[in-house]
């Protein structure tokens, strides 16, 4: 019996070290999947646009693949990675009286939100890609490849829309209390950590 007790006393458990490494990683990038996806779709669309001529002779399949990637990117950045990485979200809604409003919500404290690294990843990805697509717009315009121009225009539109929406969110817009008449028909409960506003 004594031996068993000695054995248990001598054993050192290294849980502390493992937790440290993991918590260090989590302190840098708490949401690795969201960060990866944020960049993956955008970069994949750009890379596919650049190399698709080598792989496939069919314009249609390239077009569809790039449009699908651009749409997945638009949806995921607008609805998922924005709120996970930086706690911002923007959308449009139509009131009961038919008015169209562009609204946003912003998290005040970043308790559950991302860290600085994630914010940098988010904004870097958000800004660089529309710039690259605008470059593609000019190259395809001047090389007179008109059917690629349609694709590039779609890409520029989608990426610029997200960039514009998030920049307006960040700039704060016009705040208003959640019980005002803007919000008729949609219950937005006042939460102390979220700001609602008009873009």
């Amino acid at each position: 019996m004594k031996q068993v007790i000695d054995d248990t006393e001598d054993v050192e458990l290294d849980f502390g070290n493992e937790d440290e490494a993991q918590s260090l990683r989590r302190a840098w990038i708490p949401h690795p999947l969201a960060s990866f996806l944020h960049l993956f779709f955008r970069v994949a669309a750009i890379v596919t646009y650049l190399i698709c001529d080598w792989f496939s002779k069919s314009f249609t399949s390239c077009f569809i693949i790039i449009i699908t990637l651009l749409c997945c990117d638009f949806w995921s950045v607008k609805n998922v990675t924005g709120r996970i990485l930086v706690g911002l979200r923007w959308w449009n809604q139509i009131n009961d009286d038919g008015r169209s409003l562009w609204l946003f919500e912003a998290r005040k404290m970043s308790s559950q939100g991302g860290t600085e690294v994630e914010a940098k990843i988010f904004w870097l990805g958000l800004i660089m890609c529309p710039v690259i697509w605008t470059g593609f717009f000019f190259t395809s315009l001047f090389s007179l490849k008109i059917h690629w121009l349609v694709l590039v225009l779609a890409g520029v539109t989608l990426q610029l829309a997200n960039l514009y929406g998030y920049l307006r969110c960040k700039a704060g817009g016009l705040e208003f209390p959640a019980t005002s008449s803007f919000m008729q028909g949609h219950q937005f409960l006042q939460r102390p950590d979220v700001i609602y506003g008009v873009l």
């Binding site: 249609t60 569809i64 949806w75 139509i94 038919g98 169209s100 998290r107 219950q187």
Partner: protein
């Protein structure tokens, strides 16, 4: 503290003749449990799980397709607009209108992009037209309605391709003509049912006419499609 005394008065009414020195301090706490309302968990969509977001958007798109099938006066198509349905329909229609010339890269290219340009550019033009005529509908709502109402013509395209598998004689042409005419009328009727309410009354014909033209052009592309065998 005054509330404490008030609430205790009825309970201890029988003891009213008992004299208690007024100097005894009554201390204590009353904790009224504030029930967190169930709505607290919804409606900041900042924290909702991703699956909820996906499901919400998918059901919205599905509902709109159903509304196009049965165009009653409902506000779902207009209130929560989205452009995913039009994109899907546009891609499907463009793919089907491509013909069997997948092997020759020059043929496939312009036709595919042409359909895209016609549909989206046409929708934008119609929307601008209706806004210039004084309509109250917003830009994206109008794009949403016009895009979703392409669905009958997409169905007609599928039917036409199936009919063409059986041969391309006069009979198949008549069948296709009937199908395309029916679906074109359905598209025009469905979209005007949604769009026309937002227009001033003496301008309704001016708004319906471009919509008619738009679906006519798409119907024409569907009808004159012939696979280059």
């Amino acid at each position: 503290m005054a509330e404490v005394d008030d609430s205790r008065k009825p309970m201890f009414a029988g003891l009213s003749d008992v004299s208690i020195s007024a100097d005894i301090p009554v201390e204590g706490e009353i904790n009224v449990p504030v029930g967190t309302p169930s709505q607290d968990d919804e409606y900041s969509t900042l924290d909702e799980p991703v699956k909820d977001t996906i499901l919400r958007d998918l059901t919205a798109v599905g509902k709109k397709f159903v509304h196009v099938m049965y165009p009653k006066k409902s506000s779902a198509l207009l209130r929560d607009w989205d452009l995913w349905g039009p994109l899907l329909l546009c891609v499907t229609l463009a793919l089907m209108l491509q013909g069997n010339s997948v092997d020759s890269k020059e043929e496939g290219g312009p036709q595919f992009a042409e359909v895209f340009v016609i549909i989206w550019f046409g929708s934008v033009i119609i929307t601008l037209n209706s806004k210039l005529l004084g309509g109250t509908i917003s830009f994206f709502q109008s794009l949403c309605v016009l895009g979703y109402c392409i669905m009958p013509l997409t169905v007609a395209m599928v039917v036409c391709r199936l009919v063409l598998l059986g041969g391309s004689g006069t009979v198949s042409f008549i069948i296709r003509l009937v199908v395309v005419t029916a679906s074109f009328s359905w598209s025009t009727f469905a979209s005007t049912a949604f769009l026309v309410d937002s227009q001033p009354p003496n301008r309704k014909a001016l708004v319906v006419y471009p919509v008619f033209l738009f679906y006519f052009v798409i119907g024409w592309m569907v009808l004159t499609f012939s696979p280059s065998a």
